[in-house]
Amino acid sequence: MAEFSNQGELSTTGTVLLTGGLSTIALDKLSILRFNNPLAYNVQLYKYEALSTTTTLIYDLTLSAGDTLTDNLTYALNNGDQIIAYSNILGTSYYTYGITY
């Protein structure tokens, strides 16, 4: 088990925030997501399921300049699953916190 935290800038073509690994103990989890941009921006969050090879839109939010979006939901990922975030403009910073096994 290992906790992790990452930060960076979202790509307008999609940024993989976490990919689930192969573990027999527990599922990998992404617990905290934070996004911010000094300009008005849009954030889309998708979950890719490897088993069905389908991608599901979790939310699509339009935010004002300077807004910070905090997502405290916990996303559990099977092996190969991914959490992918998109921003419509550059300059959207992100922070993630989670646990992998």
Partner: protein
């Protein structure tokens, strides 16, 4: 707090948006407004629930363009109360109803058209020139407000450029035909034919007038004309006998002694001779009297080399020349 995304997905607690000031922002109900927010709630609201200030729902509020009045809500009776207020009355003037002989003036009042006076037409007339005429077309007798006349005239000499292009004019010379019909009468130019009769004898002379001491026959008609002299043949020789050239009348002029003899019959066209009597022959030879006699109107002059000492008598003859 419940979060619903634009697709209607509902999320539970755990998703939160905070503004630049760090204060939480409500994102429920389809998301926050876009566009400027103000005290009058300007902006776009996806699912607004707006009521009138009396609590009545505005759910049935419609967009209603006044220009097309699609449902006929706007009626004259509905507008009448509003158009009678002072401001409306000063802006929208009702169109008054007049008669067919009236018009609306600038101040909105009616006025009757003035009577249009009847016009008596006047004539356009013309006065032709001898060679230049003018035709008035249409209805010249009633064409004008005031009578007017046109008088044509001719000024100056016709320019060559006005006639040189006329083939008929240029061909006139060659177009005249000369004939010589007849032997008497006046020459004629009729049309393009010039006739000159072939005269004989008198060559066309129609009258001959005889002068003094001349007779002509015949005086008219045809034939040979005869001219005869009558009387003295046009002049008379005058002989003056027993004339005396006084010895005291001789005057020395330019080396000769001269004697002037006056007689009304003497003219510049006459010749004067002097024939001395036998008794005067000696004196004539002694004084060297010359044969030259000069004449002038009314007198003649005799010449001698020496002054005669006695009177010279003789005969003076005046010849017409």
């Amino acid at each position: 707090m419940q979060v619903v995304d634009i697709n209607g997905n509902v999320f539970g607690a755990g998703l939160e948006v905070t503004g630049p000031d760090g204060k939480p922002k409500t994102i429920s109900g389809g998301g926050g407004p876009t566009g400027p927010a103000g005290g009058d709630l300007s902006g776009t609201y996806p699912n607004p629930s707006v009521v009138w200030n009396n609590g009545t729902s505005t759910y049935g509020l419609l967009y209603y363009p006044l220009s097309t009045n699609p449902s006929g809500f706007i009626t004259a009776s509905a507008l009448t109360p509003y158009l009678t207020i002072t401001l409306a009355a000063s802006t929208y003037y009702p169109i008054p109803t007049g008669t067919v002989s009236q018009y609306i003036r600038g101040n909105g009042t009616l006025a009757t058209f003035p009577t249009i006076p009847t016009i008596t037409p006047a004539a356009l007339t013309k006065v032709d020139d001898t060679n230049v005429t003018l035709s008035l077309g249409g209805t010249p007798s009633t064409s004008l407000l005031q009578s007017t006349s046109l008088t044509l005239g001719w000024t100056g000499t016709l320019a060559d450029s006005r006639i040189t292009s006329a083939a008929t004019w240029n061909a006139k010379q060659n177009a005249i035909t000369l004939t010589t019909t007849g032997t008497s009468g006046a020459s004629t130019l009729i049309g393009a034919t010039l006739n000159i009769p072939q005269y004989s004898g008198g060559g066309g002379v129609t009258q001959i007038v005889a002068g003094t001491n001349v007779t002509i026959s015949p005086v008219g008609g045809t034939g040979i004309v005869t001219i005869n002299s009558s009387g003295g043949g046009g002049g008379t020789i005058i002989k003056l006998t027993a004339q005396t050239l006084s010895s005291a009348g001789w005057i020395l002029v330019s080396g000769f002694y001269t004697y002037t003899f006056s007689n009304v019959n003497i003219t510049v066209n006459t010749r004067v001779d002097f024939t001395p009597n036998n008794t005067a022959y000696l004196e004539v030879t002694t004084c060297g009297m010359q044969t030259q006699v000069t004449v002038s109107a009314g007198s003649c002059t005799f010449f001698s080399l020496f002054p005669p000492q006695t009177n010279i008598t003789g005969e003076i003859t005046i010849f017409p020349t």
